[in-house]
Symmetry: C2
């Protein structure tokens, strides 16, 4: 499993048009009309207002049975009918990162059912998680979701369920950017 870096470029152009930019917690992220996603560590984009980078790599909390369930049910990105998307950048608190691995796992899954909740929304919602923390970025994670217009309310249910969990008490910054594919 290799490392793949992606750069999310918010600015004047891109494949995705921003329809909403909501602050869930912490500092906002500047409004931008379009978002583009490029593979690689890109230093700048044409007319970009911000640039967020993240790495897709190995699983950090998922156990074997969960990995197998995800693998059998996870849809790919880029489905033609997935014309809606969400980019949710998140930063967790210092208290979260101070916890040992077993306590973070217990909060994430045994208490908050993060993986189990996500599984309920498969295959409607395709997802890719990017890790940003080791890159010294302003967020720890960038989560990218794609779904069809008819599944937007299901996606709203997914994020509402997650935001009520014990795990989310450790989220100190969260932005919810909704998008529609252009063309």
């Amino acid at each position: 499993m290799g490392i793949r870096v992606f750069t999310f470029i918010g600015g004047a152009e891109g494949l995705w048009r921003v329809t909403r930019n909501s602050v869930i917690a912490g500092e906002p992220l500047n409004d931008i009309p379009y978002l583009d996603i490029r593979e690689g560590d890109l230093r700048e984009g044409m007319g970009s207002q911000w640039r967020l980078r993240g790495v897709v790599g190995h699983l950090r909390y998922t156990c074997r049975d969960e990995k197998d369930q995800l693998a059998s049910r996870q849809p790919p990105l880029g489905r033609p009918e997935s014309t809606r998307a969400a980019l949710i950048p998140i930063r967790k608190s210092a208290a979260w990162w101070e916890l040992p691995q077993d306590e973070r796992r217990a909060i994430l899954e045994e208490q908050s059912e993060h993986i189990r909740i996500g599984l309920k929304f498969l295959p409607a919602v395709a997802r890719r998680l990017h890790h940003s923390r080791d890159l010294g970025e302003p967020f720890d994670f960038l989560t990218w979701f794609e779904y069809s217009p008819g599944d937007e309310s299901a996606f709203d249910d997914l994020v509402r369920l997650l935001r009520k969990t014990e795990e989310w008490k450790y989220v100190e910054r969260e932005i919810d950017i909704r998008l529609t594919r252009v063309g």
Copy 2:
């Protein structure tokens, strides 16, 4: 817990003089007379032949009881008597990174006793682990060890024990650089 980036610069000058540069597995790393360690992501050093970067951050496998034991026994870096050191850059195989978290943890500790073996050599051997994988570096980890001249043979025991473990079957590149502090 913040993120701290360190750059290891191998070249013509530095606080540490290289006394040995051994290939344990995989491709060698160019011989260099000195090593310097700087906090920050430094793009180059004076006369450097190579530059390795890593991030000190949260614990990836350690449980609460292990974290508490480590915290009570781990010595700091920079002890005056610690005039010997080792830099051991390691890359693990794709097969390792494909494993889910529970199976990596089981190999690392329940089968290989990585944390338990390390604890046996405290406080003689001070250690700092740097994560490099998400930075797209040639190694996944850079481990830095400091100890007194009298503890060099204990340190040799430590690495010999670890290299015999199940975990080490997943190590595909490993360099063992030994150093003596200058002045």
